[in-house]
């Protein structure tokens, strides 16, 4: 079970292009990456979820952690390209209404520029 994280920095937004599984074994890798970005004071974070096929409750925990942490940094955190099965988990958890989940990268960037 692996998680791929590719970091793309453009202007003041860091996009993490994620692939694979966000579960018990891999969620801590994403959390470490987010902590590093927060330490560097990048004011915007985008998760590109297009390649994520599986999110467990540990994965949800990191998403919630990121959202909470970003509230203290101007609340510029968005996710996009979430697959249907993952979206069902976010919706059942009551998280989809609290997170900025949009269609694609352009929509995420537009949202963070507001």
């Amino acid at each position: 079970m692996t998680l791929g994280i590719e970091q793309i920095v453009k202007d003041d937004v860091t996009t993490l292009v994620l692939t694979g599984d966000l579960n018990t074994g891999t969620a801590s890798q994403l959390e470490a990456e987010v902590k590093e970005i927060l330490g560097g004071n990048q004011p915007g974070i985008v998760f590109d979820m297009g390649g994520i096929t599986y999110v467990s409750s540990f994965g949800l925990r990191v998403i919630v952690y990121t959202s909470k942490a970003m509230r203290a940094h101007g609340d510029r955190f968005a996710m996009h390209s979430v697959q249907d099965d993952v979206m069902e988990i976010l919706t059942l958890s009551g998280l989809s209404r609290l997170l900025k989940v949009v269609k694609d990268q352009d929509a995420a960037i537009a949202l963070l520029e507001k």
Binding site: M1, N23, T24, Y54, S56, D85, S93, G94
Partner: protein, 140 residues
């Protein structure tokens, strides 16, 4: 006709991937649809992870076992998780999941079990001969 398979691991965090890999291989062989495969994997990982993390007194060794059975006629899947840890019924003893609060107050404790209940058709728990035995039924 019913196809069944099972896999056990020791109660160690490093072994959880063994269960996941076993289930994914079985689901591939049996052409389980993407949506059902997600639910089965989610249910197994949440319950097995909880058992390994919280089910055994510190320093004790034990076993976590998963069994999958497919009723190929009705596309109904029965996933059973067994562990010989402390008696614990996750369906009633897990923390109550919070799906209402704003993000600042969110604690995701109990969310895994809440989601398993919601994604499945039926779940039930028994304690048998020193084993916790949870059966989760998932339908196409």
């Amino acid at each position: 006709m019913a196809d069944t398979a099972e896999q056990s691991i020791s109660n160690s965090i490093e072994k959880l991937d063994v269960l996941t890999e076993w289930l994914i291989a079985w689901m591939d062989e049996n052409h389980v649809t993407k949506s059902v495969a997600y639910k089965l994997r989610f249910a197994m990982e949440e319950i097995a992870t909880n058992a390994v993390y919280y089910g055994f007194p510190t320093g004790t060794s034990g076993t976590v076992k998963a069994r999958i059975t497919a009723d190929t006629v009705s596309s109904k899947y029965s996933l059973e998780i067994f562990d010989d840890g402390e008696p614990f019924n996750p369906l009633v003893e897990s923390p109550v999941a919070d799906t209402e609060s704003e993000i600042e107050d969110r604690d995701i404790g109990g969310l895994g079990v809440f989601l398993v209940k919601n994604l499945s058709e039926d779940c039930h728990y028994q304690r048998v001969d020193g084993w916790n035995h949870l059966t989760i039924c998932i339908v196409e």
